[in-house]
């Protein structure tokens, strides 16, 4: 694999710059504003709270109601505010991933609302949203087994790279693999991929992606420790 510079100057396994702001939303129980390259996403957590209508609640655990939403203004062409199939699928798998980290069995019959809103989109929005949502859940003080850390890896123009932006994702040979892990346990909680890649490269992409997830996890931890000096330590 060549080690050519990418169009924005990054090395293959470089992530775009990530900036984390916790507790930005005064009204939410927990919140996080995350900028990840050009992506801008806000995540909030409300709950656990009573669920209506009641017959949809679960007597053995909290229901995670995760919403992945792209603002109308997040894409070159104005996006319709009505959620499409893609939005619904990402909401489902992202909520599932977070559920693996939150101790939902402590809150039967309730709902935990996790809302993410992407203001600007430049590829990798689902992993950015999930990374922010996990931080918002921690910021809300929800009991968690760990953090969900997430990044995308893949291939673009014959090079294996981490954290593809839109231009890289539009390459004809692009492979896009979104992965989220429960950290520090290193358990894969979300994994989606599209492409056409042999098994050897697939494993390499996975390996790179796990490395990227560790980097994201370190940034998440740092942000939490800065805001919650004590709790941050306990989290380990």
């Amino acid at each position: 694999m060549s080690e050519e510079k990418r169009h924005d100057g990054r090395k293959p396994n470089d992530l775009r710059p990530i900036e984390i702001k916790l507790g930005v939303n005064k009204n939410a129980d927990g919140s996080c504003l995350l900028t990840w390259g050009k992506n801008v996403v806000l995540a909030t957590v409300h709950g656990p709270k009573q669920m209506f209508p009641k017959h949809l609640s679960n007597p053995s655990k909290a229901v995670i109601d995760y919403k992945y939403r792209m603002a109308c203004i997040s894409t070159p062409e104005r996006k319709s505010p009505v959620p499409g199939k893609r939005d619904k699928e990402i909401s489902l798998v992202s909520g599932n991933a977070l559920e693996s980290a939150i101790m939902v069995e402590q809150f039967p019959n309730t709902v935990i609302e996790i809302n993410t809103l992407i203001f600007t989109a430049d590829a990798g929005t689902r992993v950015a949203a999930l990374t922010a949502a996990s931080l918002a859940a921690a910021d809300a003080g929800l009991p968690m087994k760990g953090l969900i850390s997430s990044v995308a890896g893949g291939r673009s123009n014959k090079q294996l790279v981490l954290d593809l932006d839109k231009q890289e994702e539009d390459a004809p040979d692009a492979v896009d693999l979104a992965c989220a892990m429960l950290m520090p346990q290193k358990e894969i909680a979300l994994l989606q991929m599209d492409g056409f890649v042999d098994i050897k490269e697939t494993k390499e992409i996975l390996k790179n992606t796990v490395k990227g997830i560790e980097t994201v996890y370190d940034m998440q931890k740092k942000a939490l420790i800065e805001k919650y000096p004590l709790e941050g330590e306990i989290n380990e």
């Binding site: 930005v24 005064k26 050009k38 109308c72 505010p81 600007t120 430049d122 003080g141």
Partner: protein, 269 residues
């Protein structure tokens, strides 16, 4: 753990009322003062124009998108404008992410009418081919933290985003070339910038730019949009009532606030 919102709101309202007994707002503001306003333009790189406005703890983000469409049959030589306001769980615990709430419809329409009535945008200049093609302006407002007076915040942010917007390039078939811009701004008359001023009435006292707590304490909202010395729109909200004298007084106060807010909007770089 989440709080029981209604109980919280009642407690917040009680505090406001307690303080008002000694004619004081909880934040010590004068009854007719705005909270601190900060406006930041160009915050959304994927929009053609954008602004983030903070009004105390209320925060809204507005993005403007310019498309090409077919003009309405009754105005073949004009562009169009649409203001959309979204409240969701992200805005605060009283809101729900789903189909538009009645509140978000009302707030969005009041902000839309303030901008529309001011006639600050020269719609005729947004025509491309008479009866066939024109520019459509979409203004999308996201409330990222609701702490009262969303109408004024949305109107300020809407105007700031419109002033920030660049007109995109179009190809020979009049289709947008995404990501490429002309050096033209929207045709906005700086003498007609609208300003919305909202009040909450609590037990007979009217407070300008109410916080969420003050809104919980009151049962009557009044929004007046002004343009220089002119009134351009009214909206009485909620279930309470007002006297004619109160309306007239609020109009005068709103006009007295015009220059301050207009300057905030126009002086931005």
């Amino acid at each position: 753990m989440s709080n029981d919102n209604e109980t919280m709101n009642l407690l917040a309202a009680q505090k406001v009322k307690e303080s008002l007994k000694s004619s004081k707002r909880l934040d010590n503001r004068d009854f007719n003062d705005f909270r601190e306003i900060t406006i930041e333009k160009g915050v959304i790189s994927s929009a053609d124009g954008s602004a983030k406005v903070k009004l105390g703890d209320t925060e809204v983000i507005v993005g403007v998108k310019i498309n090409v469409g077919e003009p309405y049959p009754d105005s073949p030589d004009e562009g169009s404008m649409m203001f959309n306001l979204e409240l969701s769980a992200i805005s605060g615990p009283d809101f729900y992410t789903g189909p538009p709430s009645l509140e978000s419809v009302e707030y969005g329409r009041v902000a839309d009418r303030a901008i529309r009535s001011s006639e600050c945008i020269d719609m005729k200049k947004l025509s491309i081919i008479s009866g066939e093609k024109m520019y459509m302006i979409f203004i999308d407002c996201y409330v990222t933290n609701a702490d009262g007076n969303l109408i004024d915040a949305a109107t300020i942010a809407g105007m700031a985003a419109l002033l920030d917007a660049k007109i995109p390039k179009i190809d020979e078939n009049n289709k947008i070339i995404y990501g490429e811009y002309t050096d033209q701004k929207l045709p906005i008359d700086m003498k007609k910038i609208p300003v919305s001023v909202s009040f909450e009435n609590i037990d007979g006292q009217t407070l300008l730019d109410p916080t969420a707590g003050e809104e919980f304490a009151g049962d009557t909202r009044f929004s007046v949009a002004v343009c220089d010395k002119n009134i351009i729109s009214f909206q009485k909200g909620k279930t309470g009532t007002l006297s004619l004298d109160q309306i007239n007084e609020m109009c005068e106060i709103a006009i007295s606030k015009y220059d301050q807010i207009k300057k905030k909007i126009c002086d931005l770089k």
